[in-house]
C-alpha cells in the first residue's frame, strides 16, 4: 500500500462518539486518487479531475496516453508495503484509513502577512499601561560596538504563515468511502478548500 492520499479541507465541525462525547473534527474531502506512475522508489498519485483547457497540452497528453482522467495535482508518495504495490491506474479512496488510525496532515498554513515578534515568535512584549512606553516592540537585538553587528538568526518581525505545516498524530474519527470524506480530530493547517496531504503517522507507537 502507499503512505498517503491527497485531499481538500472542507472545514471544521463537531461529531459525537458512541459514548456521547463531543469531538471537534476537521472534515477533509479525501481522494479519490489515481496511481499514475512509478517513480523510482515512490509512486506518483494524482488528484482532482479537471477540464482539458485548464491543463497544458503536454500534461493533458500525458494523462490521455495513460488512459487516466485529467488530473490537476500530482504527488510522489512512499510505498509502505512492498508486497502490495497498487498497479498504475488503480484508484485510492478515503477508506485506506479506518476510524482510530493516526494520521499526519500537511498543508499550506494561512498567511499572516508581515507579523511582529509577539505574533511570530511569541515574545512577551511590554505592559499596555502604566506609562511603560514599551508595548509590542522586540527589545534588544544584541550588543553595542562590540560585536558591532547583529548576529544572524535573531528572531525579528517578518512574513508569517503561508508555509508547509504538518500536524502530526491526529486521530481519524470517521471515514466515508462513498462520499470521499474523512473526519480527523482537531485542526489542520490552511484555509478551507486548500490542498492537503494525509498520510499514516510517522509519530509515536503508531509510526512506521
Amino acid at each position: 500500500m502507499i503512505e498517503g492520499i491527497l485531499g481538500t479541507k472542507i472545514g471544521m465541525s463537531r461529531m459525537f462518539t458512541e459514548s456521547g462525547d463531543s469531538v471537534a473534527v476537521t472534515l477533509i474531502s479525501c481522494g479519490p486518487c489515481w496511481i499514475v506512475d512509478k517513480k523510482g522508489e515512490k509512486l506518483q498519485i494524482g488528484y482532482m479531475e479537471t477540464k482539458e483547457r485548464s491543463l497544458k497540452k503536454p500534461n493533458a497528453e500525458f494523462f490521455k496516453k495513460k488512459n487516466l482522467p485529467l488530473l490537476k495535482v500530482l504527488k510522489e508518495v512512499k510505498i509502505t508495503d512492498e508486497k502490495n504495490v497498487p498497479e498504475n491506474g488503480t484508484m485510492i479512496y478515503a477508506d485506506m484509513f479506518k476510524p482510530g488510525d493516526k494520521v499526519d496532515v500537511s498543508g499550506i498554513s494561512k498567511g499572516k502577512g508581515f507579523a511582529g515578534v509577539m505574533k511570530r515568535w511569541n515574545f512577551r512584549g511590554g505592559p499596555a499601561t502604566h506609562g511603560s512606553r514599551f508595548h509590542r516592540a522586540p527589545g534588544s537585538i544584541g550588543g553595542a560596538s562590540y560585536p558591532g553587528r547583529v548576529f544572524p538568526g535573531i528572531k525579528m518581525a517578518g512574513r508569517l504563515g503561508a508555509e508547509k505545516v504538518t500536524q502530526m498524530n491526529l486521530e481519524v474519527i470517521a471515514v466515508d468511502r462513498e462520499e470521499h470524506v474523512l473526519a480527523v480530530k482537531g485542526a489542520v493547517p490552511g484555509p478551507s478548500k486548500s490542498l492537503l496531504y494525509i498520510r499514516k503517522t510517522t509519530r509515536g507507537k503508531n509510526g512506521s
Binding site: S13, S22, E179
Partner: protein, 111 residues
C-alpha cells in the same frame, strides 16, 4: 452539509425558544446510563447545524446555575417544554441580574 455530519443530526427534538422553560433528561455517570433531569429557563440558543447549543439557567439552592447543552448530543434522552415564555429578544442574559419575582417571565398563550 456532509453526510456523516447529517447522520448525527437529531430530528426528534421538540421546538423551543429562549424564554421557554424546559426539562432536559441527560444521561450521566461512567456508563452514561443514569438519567438526570435538569429543569430551567432557556436563555440562549447558539450555533447552527450540529453545532447548535442551548443554555439553561436555573436557581439551585439560591445560586444561579447555567448549563450549556449541545442540542444534537446523543446524551440528551429527551427534552420537554414545560412553559412558553413571552420574550422579545433572543439572548436573555439580563435574567442573570434578576432574582425572585423579577425573574418571572410572562407566559405566551395561544388562543
Amino acid at each position: 452539509m456532509v453526510k456523516m455530519i447529517k447522520d448525527q443530526v437529531r430530528n426528534n427534538i421538540p421546538e423551543f425558544r429562549p424564554g421557554d422553560e424546559v426539562r432536559v433528561d441527560w444521561k450521566v455517570g461512567q456508563d452514561r446510563k443514569r438519567i438526570q433531569s435538569y429543569e430551567g429557563l432557556v436563555i440562549a440558543v447558539k450555533g447552527k447545524g450540529i453545532n447548535k447549543t442551548f443554555t439553561v439557567r436555573k436557581q439551585a439552592f439560591g445560586i444561579g446555575v447555567e448549563k450549556i447543552f449541545p442540542l444534537h448530543s446523543p446524551l440528551i434522552s429527551s427534552i420537554e417544554v414545560l412553559r412558553r415564555g413571552k420574550v422579545r429578544r433572543s439572548k436573555l442574559y439580563f435574567m442573570r441580574e434578576r432574582y425572585g419575582k423579577a425573574a418571572k417571565l410572562k407566559e405566551k398563550r395561544e388562543f
